[in-house]
């Protein structure tokens, strides 16, 4: 039973990461935007949904927890608000950075994500600073007993993943998707075609960011507790890059596969390593995963640059 529970909660996280990967694939895989600030959209989504769905702290709790507002709205409203907030932030980010060259875009987005994290960490009035928010409402939590809640949530996130997957696939096969790929392949050509490149890049950035915002909200309600530490570049951004690169940049199915494999390596290696290494080494053992993921990323890029599935050839339907 324990192992099955472990697998279910693993599957929930892998599904949430799959959603992030789809968002990144829209931006990087199909448009060639180097977004190294996924963690920023992740954070914005998570916090927005938290503030929209939680109630203002009352009684003794109010002495320990400060938050800007707590609207106590339903889960779905929180998720939608997360998508919108993340999209709005991405418009701001895009306005600042989309005219920059690709490398600069990466550094700038990385910096913005880091600034967002520092902002949530420092501004305690907004979302309780470094302690973060605890006790986010979980949708349909009365349906089953708490120990089986993961099963319910797995169904919820799978539905979200399916909807987003279908939407992205449809979008990418539409004329709109064709323009995005034209931009990635040859910016100058797309420009000469009279397509406003920056405007299309912005659309891609916003769509990807909204998907990431949804991912952030889904994560927040699953873990029911968020604090700024979660949104560091390592877990919030680079692990998602590894997932997409492994699965196959520009391939949604590949990206999802990559998400599951990398997350499996990440979570199962913890479990296995803990069994193998001596207890005295236990506190350091989890860091073996850093090396594992790092080496994996290098090996994929150097040896198998196309990833497992490679880029899918897209045929536009007019």
């Amino acid at each position: 039973m324990g192992l099955l529970n472990f697998f279910i909660s693993f599957a929930v996280m892998a599904t949430i990461y799959s959603i992030f990967v789809l968002g990144l694939n829209v931006q990087w895989g199909y448009t060639g935007l180097l977004n190294f600030g996924i963690a920023g959209f992740f954070a914005v989504g998570a916090y927005t949904s938290a503030l929209f769905t939680m109630h203002m702290p009352t009684g003794a709790l109010a002495n320990y927890v400060t938050q800007a507002f707590g609207l106590g709205m339903p889960f779905l409203v929180g998720v939608i608000a997360a998508a919108i907030a993340s999209g709005l932030v991405s418009i701001l980010v895009g306005a600042l950075t989309l005219r920059l060259g690709e490398g600069y875009l990466a550094i700038a987005t990385l910096g913005i994500a880091e600034s967002i994290r520092i902002f949530f960490n420092n501004e305690s009035w907004l979302a309780n600073g470094p302690q973060g928010l605890v006790g986010l409402p979980q949708p349909l939590h009365n349906l089953v007993s708490p120990q089986y809640y993961s099963y319910v949530y797995l169904v919820i996130v799978l539905i979200f993943l399916a909807v987003i997957y279908i939407a992205v696939e449809k979008g990418i096969r539409s004329p709109w998707g064709r323009v995005l790929r034209a931009i990635r392949e040859d910016e100058i050509m797309a420009n000469a075609d009279g397509k406003n490149v920056v405007f299309f890049k912005m659309q891609s950035l916003v769509v990807g960011a909204m998907i990431m915002g949804i991912g952030g909200a889904l994560y927040a309600h699953y873990s029911a507790a968020i604090q700024p530490g979660v949104f560091e570049a390592l877990f919030g951004t680079f692990i998602i890059w590894t997932m997409l690169t492994l699965g196959g940049t520009g391939n949604n199915k590949g990206g999802i596969l990559g998400a599951w494999i990398v997350w499996a390596i990440w979570s199962w290696s913890t479990y296995l390593i803990a069994k193998v290494v001596p207890a005295s080494f236990a506190t350091r053992a989890p860091f073996i995963r850093y090396v594992l993921i790092g080496v994996l990323l290098i090996v994929i890029i150097v040896r198998f640059p196309k990833g497992i599935m490679g880029e899918e050839r897209q045929v536009s339907k007019f």
């Binding site: 920059l100 990466a106 700038a108 913005i112 506190t283 350091r284 850093y290």
Partner: protein
């Protein structure tokens, strides 16, 4: 305010030193090395390894003059530099050289460097754990200039001098020696460098070697200034990126000026806002500069 300016110059000198190696590699290979920060961490910890070793052997434990660090730290610079140079060259051979051979874009190298960063940081965590470490745990002597009301640590004089000295040596190497000029030529025009008979791969060994040298020195100095922890280099990388972008691709003087500007701006900002906003200040300056002058302050004038 004057005190913040002095702190800014100290911080700016360390940032400047750290960013010279980064901009050098960026200029020559077009690679924006995300592992630079973690290589700095590796440099700092390599020195720690030898300091610990010296302490175990009971040698070189005496404190140097008015400073807070022992002779062991000074001696440990040498093996730390060696390790860092070898590490930098090996990383290039194993990761970036195959990518160059395959004709991959610099963006691919950039993503690969993130993998290198993780692997390095993970290794450091495994060997030394997540705790803070110090080269020497004793008192850190300070100097107080009463008449102008400034207080700073004696170590900081050493840090500033060594930073500027190291950069000056590299600058002289690049402007006076045949190898240095060839490196600049390679950064300027790789095709013509090849046509002139400059062997690119051999030059890149030099480039990574110099970067490794600067990385080790900045790592140890940064370790003396603050403390050693596995995340130190990664966190330090953010202002380095900003300094290098401010200075313009491949510009050493640009990186130095960028470093100083950022160091001073970061310290000055603490007069107005929480100190934890320092990294954010670096980024906001960087983004503003990018928007106004996409090639940085001293960016290349020639295409």
């Amino acid at each position: 305010m004057l005190e913040l300016l002095i702190y800014g110059i100290v911080l700016g000198s360390i940032i400047g030193l750290g960013s010279v190696g980064l901009t050098l590699i960026w200029g020559i290979t077009d690679l924006f090395n995300c592992a630079h920060g973690d290589q700095i961490t590796a440099g700092a910890y390599s020195a720690l390894l030898f300091v610990t070793l010296f302490n175990k052997m009971g040698i070189l434990k005496g404190i140097v003059g008015p400073f807070s660090f022992s002779w062991g730290v000074l001696v440990a610079f040498i093996p730390a530099i060696l390790i860092s140079v070898i590490l930098a060259i090996l990383i290039d051979r194993w990761v970036y050289k195959p990518l160059r051979k395959a004709g991959a874009t610099s963006i691919t190298g950039f993503i690969a460097s993130i993998g290198v960063a993780w692997a390095l940081r993970g290794t450091i965590y495994i060997i030394w754990g997540a705790d803070f470490h110090f080269y020497n745990t004793g008192l850190r002597p300070t100097i107080i200039l009463h008449n102008i009301g400034i207080k700073f640590r004696v170590d900081e004089i050493f840090i500033v001098i060594i930073s500027w000295l190291s950069v000056a040596v590299v600058y002289l190497f690049l402007s006076k020696t045949k190898m240095g000029k060839a490196l600049r030529a390679l950064a300027d025009n790789p095709t013509l460098a090849q046509v002139s008979g400059i062997n690119t791969e051999r030059m890149l060994i030099w480039a990574w070697g110099i970067a490794g040298l600067l990385i080790a020195i900045s790592g140890v100095l940064y370790g003396i200034e603050t403390q050693l922890r596995p995340e130190m280099g990664w966190i330090f990388l953010m202002p380095l990126f900003a300094a290098v972008i401010l200075g313009g691709q491949g510009s050493i003087t640009g990186a130095l000026i960028g470093g100083l500007v950022l160091g001073i701006a970061q310290q000055m900002s603490t007069a107005f806002m929480a100190p934890s906003y320092k990294p954010a200040v670096a980024f906001i300056i960087m983004i503003l500069v990018l928007i106004v002058r996409p090639r940085g302050i001293l960016g290349r004038r020639y295409s």
